[in-house]
Symmetry: C2
């Protein structure tokens, strides 16, 4: 059966998935970009950006696995962009330029309706206003038998964890202290437990994969 998978949720050692003071200038909060250095350095990430080189090994393996077998992505509106409230004809089409690296249907959770946006390279942003279960159902349909990836951010992952809908959760613990920001593991009262599938590490990240019991 197709799965809902979270990959590469990078958190600082002190538990933050984004640094303090998130905004247009600092979408990942102050210091938050450093959470993703390990991933950006990998050969798989380089290849996705059409660049040569990049690191191989555990980090690269984890990035590669996160792309495998995925047919659709779900993300929260804050991950899609900094626009808040009604779209009001906004022409914002994500952080990723004209050809986003998804190449498949992307369901964006929002309280505000908007027509789908078709991008170059096969990515379509569809805006879902009737909740996380509906988004998941639409994503599974769109994925056509493949798995669905839950992209983030933290608040969106928390919603799906609380609802017990996450089959796999890969957290990359990054050895830095942000001192504040948005915690990944918060507001999870009543979330069904996950169990460990794997612990791996490179010199720049510790990878923990949890799966549904």
């Amino acid at each position: 059966m197709p799965k809902l998978r979270v990959h590469m949720m990078s958190v600082s050692l002190d538990g933050y998935a984004a640094g303090p003071d998130q905004g247009l200038d600092a979408p990942l909060g102050v210091g938050g970009e450093a959470l993703h250095t390990w991933a950006v350095a990998t050969a798989t990430f380089h290849r996705m950006q059409g660049r040569p080189g990049g690191s191989t090994g555990v980090d690269d393996e984890l990035v590669r696995r996160g792309e495998e077998g995925i047919g659709a992505t779900i993300m929260g509106r804050n991950m899609f962009g900094p626009v808040r409230g009604p779209w009001n004809g906004s022409d914002w089409t994500g952080w990723w330029g004209p050809e986003p690296p998804y190449h498949h249907p992307v369901l964006v959770l929002t309280h505000h309706a908007r027509d789908p946006v078709r991008m170059a390279g096969g990515t379509t942003f569809t805006f879902v206003t009737d909740g996380i279960e509906s988004a998941l159902e639409q994503a599974f349909t769109a994925a056509g038998g493949r798995d669905v990836r839950l992209g983030g951010g933290a608040a969106t992952v928390q919603q799906y964890l609380r609802a017990g809908l996450v089959d796999e959760l890969h957290v990359a613990v990054v050895p830095l202290l942000l001192g504040g920001g948005e915690r990944l593991f918060a507001h999870l009262e009543g979330a069904p437990p996950l169990e460990c599938a794997e612990v791996l590490s490179s010199p720049v990240a510790a990878h923990i994969r949890m799966v549904r019991r």
Copy 2:
């Protein structure tokens, strides 16, 4: 120069150094004992308890290093025992039986004066009522040139981190979700940053060592 070192601070993936509802029945909180399974399983821990066997490898190496070069230990009162308020002639001498595994001077932070307690095997519990700097000074003196280990619990480690007095912090991230309890990384506003020295992992724990910049 002798250092203040924290070793084997085990935290769950969701950041808790102890589970919810700590008390005499569950000193580490509900589910909290599982935080230490990786350490208890090691050959070094077995040897400290006079038992044969135990795991070798990364986990064992980290436990062994934590014992190396230590001349004194500091701990918070809650780590020493469950007694609260004035001692009132309490005969509580710690969780560790007549011969605690320290074999050196142990400074216990408390608000309530008590005479030192001499245990078998070289451990002496001395109760310090005039603050963390005083305890550290006394510990360095008692250690006679060796390093001082800061034992815990979380609140005590936070105090020393805020004061910028920690030279080395080894956190073991354990792949389980406790869902609540006592966070290690909280109340750290203004704590000077630490930087990563090492990331290692075994199948049951990810080890991150941070050091003072």
